[in-house]
Amino acid sequence: MADAAPAVSARLVCKQFDGIEVLRDVSLDVAKGSTACIVGPSGSGKSTFLRCVNWLEQPTTGQILLNGAPMGVVPSPKGGTRPMTAKELALARTRVSMVFQHFALWPHLTVLGNVIEAPVHVLGRPRDEAVEDARRLLARVGLEAKADAFPHTLSGGQKQRVAISRALAMKPEVLLFDEPTSALDPEMVGEVLEVMRDLAKEGMTMMVVTHEMAFARDVADTIAFFDAGRVIETGDPKAFFTAPQTDRARRFLTRYGI
């Protein structure tokens, strides 16, 4: 039953940079419509893992499946796989959107321009339709008035909300967040998390690398705790936050006062 396949399934993902092991046998399933929060100390491989999902980093070994279809590789008829061509990879990436820590908006385009850029030029959607869609998405994050502004005139929180609209404009199957609030002033964190909460409620499939433990506890359906390149604990957030299974997780949570 293809419908039962998880939206994202990582299987034994390993990643090495110049012989240094960054990820080791990471396996994680994210069910359709659910939110997975990836937590853990800095340098534990959380972001690298997230970037493997849309192939910004190629896993050294292991597999990523998006709704059952392999990412980055194509099964060859004789068995085994071959790497995707640049075009195939670009097409596959349109199914996943990403929100970055430092927003990564394109400064030469207006807010509206940023949101419609990929739908028009990658997906080939008619411009009018993309604009209408973009205005709706911007209205929903409270930024319809900023459509014609350039990114450098926005606050950090506003930039990140634009980045979320840009990601949603692709109508992705999965939304990846790479520490979306880490570069924000404390006062702006709330407005971004609020948007993310709403998305989770509406059944968007999300993978969120975050240090916001309160958000993870309230919103996540699954928690994955990373340490030294491995997932050492996964499961229900309530269980994780009240009774972590491992010493490492307990020590980690203590530092957040949990």
Partner: protein, 217 residues
């Protein structure tokens, strides 16, 4: 200095401008093409471009002109003085333009490129839609600086018989036994030409700043 002499200088100025423009028209895009080859790390071509850039950077322009005009014919490529001058200027400025474009490409914010990739853009599309519109703004200053250097290097092509400003001035000086007026006039003309280029740069930068609120990313 007679009116006829002044006309000679103006004709020389026309030649200088035409040679520079032709050199630029070929050299700037060629430089970009070379920079893209290096940026994309196309095997073999990358090495060839690197070698070409090093060679030209090490060769005095005068030597380069003489090479193009006198040595290329022995290899079966005979060029008249003006085409030879244009080819030399273009091939001389291209490597410098290449390095300018390449610096712009290398320093292009990585996160913007990753955002483009993550949205499913191919490299070509990302270059066209995201990189190119910002790249030329970053490179404008250094490119204009290289343009002024190119313009001031044009007297080197006088050696193969092309009459530009400096050659015209020295001819007038030799004929009248009074070199001061023609060379003063030549200096004024060079200054005006450079002023026009620099002013154009300022206007473009001001337009960019007004449109986008910043001069460069």
């Amino acid at each position: 200095m007679t009116w006829a002499a002044f006309e000679t200088l103006l004709t020389g100025a026309g030649t200088t401008v035409a040679l520079s423009l032709a050199g630029l028209a070929i050299g700037v895009p060629l430089g970009l093409a070379l920079a893209l080859i290096r940026w994309a790390r196309i095997p073999v071509a990358d090495q060839l471009v690197a070698t070409y850039v090093s060679l030209v950077r090490a060769t005095p322009l005068l030597t380069f002109v003489l090479f193009v005009f006198f040595v290329l014919p022995t290899m079966g490529l005979e060029l008249d003085p003006v085409p030879a001058a244009i080819v030399t200027l273009a091939l001389n400025t291209a490597p410098f333009n290449c390095e300018i474009w390449r610096a712009g490409l290398t320093n292009f914010p990585r996160d913007q490129l990753e955002a483009a990739e993550a949205c499913g853009m191919t490299r070509t599309l990302a270059f066209r839609r995201i990189v190119a519109p910002q790249l030329w703004r970053v490179c404008l200053g250094p490119l204009v600086s290289e343009m002024t250097i190119l313009l001031k290097a044009t007297p080197a092509v006088a050696v193969i018989g092309v009459v530009e400003i400096t050659r015209a001035a020295s001819r007038i000086g030799a004929a009248t036994y009074d070199p001061l007026p023609p060379f003063l006039a030549a200096t004024v003309i060079y200054t005006l030409l450079i002023a026009v280029i620099v002013q154009a740069q300022r206007v473009i930068e001001a337009l960019i700043a007004r449109r986008y609120g910043y001069a460069a990313p």
